[in-house]
């Protein structure tokens, strides 16, 4: 079973996203991953994430968005998180801005693991307790601890 608290890249977490628009937020998260050398080809990575974003509303409501993709630019499961206090429009069906933005990517041949991670994350973030606590998190370590406790 995939544990989000173990899969998440703590160093990639951004607790105060500077960007205010969907594509810019995704670029900000991807740039951090590239800086940490967790992805080799950030252009392909970004392009694959945005391709999905054009067809899907990865804003799943309740202030949560999960941009994601299977891409050859990922050599393993990559998961990171950004928090936007003001919120960002991710075209959620409920029309509300997204504050909790989790970015997931996996290699193209890891479909099952990728879907399990998406399901696990979506389930965890549907809990109000998770969102309330994440909104107050003061450090990346605290984010990991919260996820560990709630999942």
């Amino acid at each position: 079973m995939i544990r989000i608290s173990e899969a998440i890249c703590k160093e990639g977490i951004i607790l105060n996203l500077a960007a205010r628009e969907k594509v810019a937020v995704i670029k900000e998260l991807v740039a951090k991953l590239a800086k940490l050398k967790l992805i080799d080809d950030s252009e392909t990575f970004l392009s694959d994430i945005l391709k999905r974003e054009n067809l899907e509303s990865t804003g799943i409501g309740l202030g949560v968005a999960i941009p994601h993709a299977r891409t050859k630019a990922a050599s393993g499961l990559i998961l990171t998180y950004g928090y936007s206090k003001k919120g960002v429009d991710f075209n959620s069906l409920d029309g509300k801005p997204s504050h909790f933005i989790f970015l997931i990517a996996a290699p193209e041949d890891q479909k099952t693991r990728y879907i399990m991670a998406l399901a696990r994350l979506s389930k965890t973030l549907r809990k109000e307790e998770t969102r309330t606590r994440l909104a107050k998190a003061g450090s990346a370590q605290e984010v990991v601890e919260i996820l560990k406790e709630v999942e």
């Binding site: 067809l55 069906l93 399901a119 979506s122 549907r126």
Partner: protein
């Protein structure tokens, strides 16, 4: 004309290939597929066993929804996922009304009273899918 196509799915009673016809239709119409799964309301004081069972149901529902998304993506069909909690017919009707759905689709599930659903949908057409995915 038909821009939003809602499909209610019961992950325990549906195979992914049964959604092929729906994807064809969405593709032809250029419509967005909104895949909806519904969890029954949680009891007021659930037992540990009930909590665990519900947890597993939710996990299975999300996996199924994301698998639908993956199929839609591979066919370049626009899509959105929804997991709601409530009584089945009321929840479907509420989503149809709240999100300006143009066509509602589902299968002939045991827990779906089709005449009752038609009544709740009012003028929104109901598309009954069959097990051959048509």
């Amino acid at each position: 004309m038909y821009k939003r196509l809602l499909v209610y799915v019961d992950p325990g009673e549906t195979r992914l290939d049964e959604l092929e016809g729906l994807m064809d239709l969405a593709d032809q119409l250029g419509a967005r597929v909104i895949a909806l799964a519904i969890l029954e309301p949680e009891p007021d004081k659930p037992t540990e066993k009930e909590k665990k069972a519900r947890d597993e149901l939710e996990d299975r529902a999300w996996k199924f929804l994301y698998s639908i998304e993956d199929i839609a993506f591979s066919r370049e069909v626009k899509n959105s996922l929804m997991l709601e909690e409530g009584k089945t017919l009321d929840t479907i009707a509420s989503v149809v009304s709240s999100y300006d759905v143009d066509i509602c689709a589902t299968f002939n599930y045991r827990n779906v009273d089709i005449p009752g659903l038609l009544e709740k949908l009012n003028t929104v057409p109901l598309l009954l899918l069959n097990q051959e995915g048509q």
